[in-house]
């Protein structure tokens, strides 16, 4: 029996009020397990990014509960929730959101610094993670000097530097060409995913569906289907 990383029960979320009210999520219930690479797919506006935000503790749902490794995250105080995100969840954003004024190594060290590690120690560890993603020689360059694929790998190194149990990736291939995008997600599956870690990927890129363990399809804010991965 795989260990549950995230459990969402009847999650609902809407934006706006009155005539402008848009329902983004309707009674979504799901489980994500350690050791799996879970895809959330669907057309634009289907609610997949909203669902990812709710699951990762950055957007409060209007209804339902979300628990991360048994902790009901939306019952936590804001500071405790931030601490949980810091220790349990790693983020890879669609636009990477790397700091252009910091070096690549310093960017990777950010979550370690947030975890109160001494600066030099954090930088040293960041270099180890840059080695894992194959960017040792780029450690002292600013991110703007790197290609899109390299920036994505820096973002992945940053996300895993704090050794989170859950890695969430928002449209990881959106800013990359087909081969690079597939290569990046393959890298995550082979090097980052393990039995103690769950990777949740929001994407509408069908070229990487073959790498998923399971695929949840969203339509109009609800879960339309769940299929096993490996289907292109």
């Amino acid at each position: 029996m795989p260990f549950t990383a995230i459990r969402a029960m009847e999650v609902g979320k809407s934006f706006g009020e009155g005539d402008a009210r848009t329902v983004a999520l309707r009674n979504v219930t799901l489980e994500a397990y350690l050791g799996e690479m879970l895809y959330i797919v669907g057309p634009s506006g289907s609610g997949k990014t909203t669902l990812l935000s709710v699951l990762s503790g950055v957007l409060r749902p209007d209804a339902g509960t979300v628990s991360v490794e048994g902790t009901d995250i939306w019952s936590l105080a804001p500071d405790r929730l931030a601490e949980l995100r810091l220790h349990k969840i790693g983020f890879v954003f669609q636009d990477f959101h790397l700091f252009p004024r910091l070096t690549t190594a310093e960017n990777v060290a950010v979550p370690l610094i947030l975890k109160k590690q001494p600066w030099d120690e954090a930088i040293s560890k960041a270099r180890e993670y840059l080695e894992i993603v194959g960017l040792t020689k780029r450690a002292d360059l600013p991110p703007v000097k790197l290609s899109g694929g390299e920036q994505q790998r820096v973002a992945i190194a940053r996300a895993i530097a704090a050794q989170p149990d859950i890695l969430v990736m928002d449209e990881p291939t959106a800013s990359l060409d087909g081969d690079t995008g597939h290569g990046i997600v393959t890298f995550v599956k082979n090097q980052v995913l393990n039995e103690k870690r769950c990777v949740i990927v929001v994407t509408h890129d069908s070229r990487i569906y073959d790498l998923a363990s399971r695929i949840l399809k969203m339509e109009d804010g609800h879960l339309a289907s769940v299929t096993n991965g490996g289907v292109s």
């Binding site: 950055v58 957007l59 500071d79 959101h97 004024r101």
Partner: protein, 378 residues
Amino acid sequence: MKGILKLAYKLLVNDKAKFTALLVGITFAVFLMLQVTSTFIGMMKRASSTVYNIAAPIWIMDPAVESASNAIGMPDYVLDAARSLPGVSYAVPVYTGNSLVKLDDGTYQAATIVGLDDASLYGRPRLLEGNIEDLYGENAFVVVKDGDYPKLGSPRVGTEFEVNDHRGVIVGVADVASGGLFGTPTLYTTYNRTLQYLPNPRFTISYVLVQPKSASEIPQIKEQVKSLGYLALTKDEFVDRTSSFYMWQTGMGINIMIVAIMSFIVGLSISGQTFYTFVLENIDKFAALKAMGANNRELIMMILSQAGFTALIGYGLGVGLCSFMITMAKMRLPSFASQMSFLNLGLGLFMVVIIAGVSSYFGVRRVLKIEPFQVFRG
């Protein structure tokens, strides 16, 4: 927290254009504020130069005296009455006035004449050349070597001149704590010689200088002098009275205050806008930090440290620039009346703290409002 602060520091200083703009704004504001207040402080010190240079603990004067340079003559009985007061160790007269001095080349130069008590020479200046006893010699004067000294032809010991058709001779060159405000050189002589040389009004004592037996006697002495119809002020009170006169009754203070406020507004608007723009440009990064697990307290510390660091560096540069300008000006114009003090340095620091506080307030407000999920909006 140390790592967070270092992160904030790197994000700030690595954005060289913004950091430079912030520094320029604060440095300029501090420089402007310090420059005008230093000039004002310098002028105020010059306005009270007689008080600083003679340095008597208590000054008795006519109640209508508003500043140290506008003495009103008092009758001799005030001196006698002061000497008879309990609590007074001794009291001496002093004369301060102006006269025209005829120089060797036949030109005239206005000068301030200070007449010291003949018996004690109380309030005498420190001599650089000559002996103070020579002031008892015939026609003897001591000249003060300050910024206005060259206006008398830079006289040496033995130089002769005329005051109201009386022969005068320099017997000493002195150094004093403060030069005068009005750009006139200063000559010291004895009280009785001033009465012989200068046109005499009915009452000749400008001030009675009092040495109390102890500091605790001062309130009682002031009360007794008041009952005589005169005013006794401590040295500091007399300086304050003079400063207050120039500040509120000449328009000088109001104008200085307006310039200081303008420099504050200029600094605040340049730095405030630049810093807010800096925060706005990094708002997605702050949202990313929030999503990754930074709490509000850490983000506030980041912004406050960035604003505080910029403010302190800007303050240091402003102080340095102002010191440099004053030093340069004094090298060219020895009588340039500008002086920094702890008061205006403190005021400048207070101003930059306000600028940093206001600038970071809007940045903090913006960052606290940002929702971390906005980072997913791409």
